[in-house]
Symmetry: C2
Subunit: 332 residues, 2 copies
Amino acid sequence: MKKLINDPSEVVSDALRGVAAAHPELKVDHENRVVYRADAPVRGKVGLVSGGGSGHEPMHGGFVGPGMLDAACAGEVFTSPVPDQMLAATRYVDGGAGVLHIVKNYTGDVMNFDMAAELAAADGVEVASVVIDDDVAVRDSLYTAGRRGVGATVLVEKIAGAAAEAGRPLAAVADVAKKVNAGARSMGMALTSCTVPAAGKPTFDLPDDEMEIGIGIHGEPGRERVPLEPARRVAERLLEPIVSDLGLSGGDSVLAFVNGMGGTPLLELYLMYAEVASVLERAGVGIARSLVGNYITSLEMAGCSVTLLRVDDELLELWDAPVRTPGLRWGI
Amino acid sequence: MKKLINDPSEVVSDALRGVAAAHPELKVDHENRVVYRADAPVRGKVGLVSGGGSGHEPMHGGFVGPGMLDAACAGEVFTSPVPDQMLAATRYVDGGAGVLHIVKNYTGDVMNFDMAAELAAADGVEVASVVIDDDVAVRDSLYTAGRRGVGATVLVEKIAGAAAEAGRPLAAVADVAKKVNAGARSMGMALTSCTVPAAGKPTFDLPDDEMEIGIGIHGEPGRERVPLEPARRVAERLLEPIVSDLGLSGGDSVLAFVNGMGGTPLLELYLMYAEVASVLERAGVGIARSLVGNYITSLEMAGCSVTLLRVDDELLELWDAPVRTPGLRWGI
């Protein structure tokens, strides 16, 4: 295992020290492994909390800041945080207008956020939750009942974050988060595995001439293994189920998001974006906004995912609103 | 070779199609492989041009936009662009106040930018050049007479870009670029090689239990190969020659930049940043600003580099100025 780490069991703690040192505008509760806005709680604003296993950076800690999340809790690599972490995060960001939990649909995350919401409610904090389940690759999977939550999470965090910043009440922020989740679909693929530090060896084996279509962000199996193909064919494979499931047709407008799994160079991600744009152009689907880069990763896995979000004026205005986080920033 | 590409000989062209599709605020001259601001030339502003071999994305095309570069030309992977590309870029961005060429110190880049500057001068365009040579690892190397240009290039492009945006004349923009280069030192390391698409196999072999200290951004040999070590020891190895060469001592203030080579997860880069911050704290060196992420990469190489820039009020003000590029953005 070749990694820039100290003790494999201290990877998350050590990285959180780096986040604290690099970003004075954020605070880190090292005991609970919570990254939160230094100015939290923001009085009268709905607080946004997300979190999940580590290894998907910049998600979620890198999306904390004005216009996006108020706090994120970090589990061990590819392991859900515990309810106490989520409760601590919820308390940090409760500014009196309630707190929204943004939860990727994995069994541990859903269960633990549910428990944290109950504990917070017992404290008198109003909590709403939205579960993200945008991955069209598989119906159920290793860690999931129902579809997995993947790339749409980035879009939900940005757009719901803007809605909260604009002063919308909890129910309205939850509604727009659900609207984004309902209008977004994703599918990923991998060329290589990744290695969880504590495991010390690759999560799975993939022959030199094969790729995995529909991979999960923890290396969970996808739909099928197929021989390597040109990027233009990979783009078609990823888009076909997304376009079909969203019911997109000529004249529709989307945000197109090509995400790197961590080990694929940006050069290749832009190349993939070119192929995605070609497929959509042929289908008559317009691209209103785009995002290309490493936003929800699987350690050093090589591969990518594509997410399409059906957009309207409301979502575009919220997408364009200022955001200031380590991982996504514009306007401020 | 596992890559998200079509024809290995078309990788750069295909990726540039993606850049054009994803960024309507940029234009791409596909014949000359030049990425430039859609609003170029900006009347009365010094134009900034850089460029070099591809494979280091987001550098340089991802740093084109207000507050940074006006144009970037893309060579084949790890191969200098030709003078005609640089000349085309220079013409696109000449707004009447002259053009600065920011050139990484590699033999081909230096020679070709020199020739382009002569051709542009014959056209009546005033051109100044700054050569970046911040890599303390080796004195000369495979592609270089003198030190190689690496991480400081990102800082020069940002800071000189802000100076140009503020309306400074050509000589003053060149001066601040030289000041950044003079005050910055870098050193990198690799855990794995990368694979140039046209070559189809790894650039070098590195045993499973070794790392290369002082690696170049094209996989050129560094100082030595040593057994794998904890990140805290790697940070010390990279910082020792930087701190010594810059003559840093207690009370000095720096911008600290931990850069990923492309295949190393952000989790590890933040962990490395924590170690870098610890070393500097022990030395009494203050960190005024930081940058952590993949900014000057070597395809999918795993590893990192550290750059320190000695800062003063002038450089901090220019660093903090608004910038809007695909790879670096704040304030606008």
